[in-house]
């Protein structure tokens, strides 16, 4: 069974004193896939990665790589290699020496080392970089060398610790595509940690969303985006409008939620949990799930008509960003601010702030999650 899995974690726990950085995490990564761990800083993802690399011993649980337990195996004996956050290229060595470092430790004959170094440089499209100094390379080139240095050792799993963080935006966009392609070509299992959801969504086969030491949800990027299972995932992956309120009534799985600031929105449960009347919930609606139309009626506030939530409001701010343009709309009656995506067709390109518009979205686009607030986390502070 475990033949199919490159990496498996079983009930992994790491505590520092009373603080639990990684809390009972289990995961299975099939061979050859690109797996991302996405979470805000301090969520424990780095601790998890360092446990996989062997720099931290887990407090409990097991790490199995290619069917073998890694407990007690020092970092230099593990079949995993890591691309460090700041790359950790050795400044006292040139590119070829950097790549050859691991091979030399394996005491391979020099001729074989040279051949492998040349091959891997070819693969990352830097065939002539060998004799260069690492300081002579550009950010993107350094990135590729750091990956080549690990890949040349043909690891079972390649760990990547936010390696794109230090790059500027344009290069980062480019490297995302390049990394995904590289992974596809070499077929090595990649475990990539990041706090940048776009990196995780674009590159990964599967993503685990991590928060406060736990996995909130593991699934394909599409799954996470369209079908988030927890309020945290709904809020963290992609943009959302967010309200909190209380379930007033239930009708065939559709809940009418009266909002704390007034008004009501109908929605459905975002996960398997059945909502009950009186539950406190968080409601999430994606900006692009909302359709807009010009509205000249004097009607304001929220309504529910024909299975659609509707809301009229005044455009407060226009946030033009090309295909990603948005408008912030204020409901005069309740004071809610709602962010909506403007259609990419440019249909509303003449929209002005101050105009009154009508927003509507399907009841099934409003996902409600029972509030977890106040459970466990605030005590520490």
């Amino acid at each position: 069974m475990s033949n199919q899995l490159d990496l498996e974690c079983r009930q992994l726990v790491k505590s520092f004193g009373k603080f639990t950085a990684v809390d009972n995490v289990s995961l299975e990564i099939p061979k050859g896939s690109f797996f991302s761990i996405l979470g805000p800083s301090g969520c424990g993802k780095t601790t998890l990665l360092r446990m996989l690399a062997g720099f931290i011993e887990p407090s409990a649980g097991d790490i199995v790589i290619k069917g073998q337990s890694m407990l007690g195996v020092p970092p230099n004996k593990r079949p995993v290699n890591m691309v460090f956050q700041h790359l950790a290229l050795f400044p006292m060595m040139n590119v070829a020496e950097n790549i050859a470092y691991g091979l030399k430790r394996r005491k391979l004959p020099q001729a074989e080392i040279d051949k492998k170094v040349a091959d891997v440089l070819e693969r990352v499209s830097l065939p002539d970089a060998g004799p260069k100094d690492v300081t002579q390379l550009s950010g993107g080139q350094r990135q590729r060398i750091a990956i080549a240095r690990s890949l040349v050792l043909e690891p079972a799993v390649l760990l990547l610790d936010e390696p794109l963080g230090a790059l500027d935006l344009k290069l980062r966009e480019h490297m995302k595509v390049e990394l995904k392609q590289l992974q596809h070509e070499v077929g090595t299992t990649f475990v990539y940690i990041t706090h940048d959801q776009s990196e995780a969504l674009v590159m990964s086969d599967n993503v685990a969303v991590m928060n406060e030491g736990r996995f909130e949800q593991v699934g394909s990027p599409q799954d996470l985006y369209y079908n988030p299972q927890t309020a945290f995932v709904a809020g963290f992956v992609g943009d959302s409008n967010r309200w909190s309120g209380r379930v007033d009534s239930l009708d065939n799985g559709k809940a009418l939620v009266s909002l704390d600031d007034g008004g009501a929105i109908a929605g459905i449960s975002g996960n398997d949990r059945v909502l009950n009347v009186g539950d406190r919930v968080e409601l999430f609606v994606r900006p692009e799930a909302i359709t807009i139309e010009r509205d000249s009626s004097a009607q304001t506030g929220t309504h529910i008509e024909d299975g659609q939530n509707t809301l009229s409001g005044i455009v407060e701010n226009l946030l033009f960003d090309g295909a990603n343009s948005r408008a912030q709309v204020r409901d005069q009656q309740t004071g809610h601010q709602v962010t909506v995506s403007l259609p990419q067709t440019g249909a509303f390109s003449d929209l002005k702030s101050g105009e009154q518009i009508r927003l509507s979205w399907g009841v099934d686009k409003a996902r409600a999650y029972v509030s977890q607030a106040g459970v466990g986390k605030e005590q520490a502070a």
Partner: protein, 289 residues
């Protein structure tokens, strides 16, 4: 005040004149020492009698040049031996201390750090006498109890080396620690991750990174040891190192042979100082001192 502000020509010139005078003050003693090494006279003083190289290569009394002066040559030998020992010891201990203070945590760390800085503020003469007394106490104690005469604990090369080592080690500790502080520990982790053992990571990554600081600190140590006077004066036995020999000659009235030695010292020190500057200039680490 600063070049971007307008100021009168007069004050600018006055300032420049002051700076010029200052550098003349700095250079004057060194220049005269060098120049008088070539004076064709028995004394390093006016009048100027023309150029001679006797004070380097002369062979006949009273004009014995440095290269034929057995006592001077011998004392240079002693100084060199002492300096090499002090350098090796203090670079080794300084490196250990750097790792200890930068990488380890233990109770009493701050107190030990303060103690490690103490030798900087202890006057050299006092460091000398305290080590003299202590080694003497041990030697006497051993002699009284066991009848053994531990000759190396009496004034001489060994305790001179110990005395210089005692304060020079503070310098190496500071210099090497400063460099180690700039080391990115993820480089070591990367080495481990690529299959290196801890020792291999140290040998191939950390020590090469520290090498410029170790060489630089070593050169500073060598020079400080070679030129040390105060501590050495209290601990010296019959084998005098160069500074002590020169001091004795200076008190008796000197020949320009002393200028010749001094000139050579200046040239060698200057060259070593330049080497240490170049070694420590490092392209990999931004200089933020």
């Amino acid at each position: 005040m600063i070049p971007s502000l307008p100021q009168s020509k007069f004050s600018t010139r006055l300032y420049a004149a002051y700076i010029t005078l200052f550098f003349i003050y700095l250079a004057a003693p060194l220049v005269v020492v060098g120049v008088f090494a070539f004076n064709d006279s028995l004394f390093p003083s006016m009048p100027w009698n023309g150029v001679t190289f006797d004070w380097f290569i002369g062979t006949e009394e009273p004009r014995i040049g440095v290269f034929n002066d057995g006592q001077l040559l011998e004392s240079i030998g002693y100084s060199g031996f002492i300096a090499v020992c002090v350098t090796l010891l203090s670079v080794f201990v300084g490196t250990c201390n750097a790792f200890l203070f930068e990488r380890h945590n233990f109770p009493g760390k701050n107190v030990l750090y303060i103690f490690a800085l103490m030798p900087l503020v202890i006057p050299g003469v006092i460091l000398g006498i305290s080590i003299l007394i202590f080694t003497n106490s041990i030697a006497n104690g051993v002699e009284d109890s066991f009848g053994l005469d531990l000759d190396f604990l009496r004034p001489g090369l060994f305790i001179v080396i110990m005395g210089q080592f005692a304060f020079v080690t503070t310098i190496t500790t500071l210099v090497i620690s400063a460099r180690l502080r700039k080391f990115d520990t993820s480089l070591e982790e990367a080495a481990l991750n690529l299959g290196a053992t801890k020792w291999e990571a140290m040998k191939t990554i950390t020590l090469p990174f520290l090498k410029p600081a170790m060489i630089g600190a070593g050169i500073v140590c060598f020079l400080m040891s070679f030129e040390n006077f105060n501590t050495t004066l209290m601990l010296v036995g019959s084998d005098s190192p160069l500074t002590i020999t020169m001091f004795d000659r200076l008190k008796q009235g000197s020949t320009p042979a002393l200028n010749a030695v001094s000139l050579m010292l200046m040239v060698v020190s200057g060259a070593l100082a330049l080497v240490s500057v170049f070694v420590q200039r490092d392209k990999n680490v931004p200089d933020n001192e």
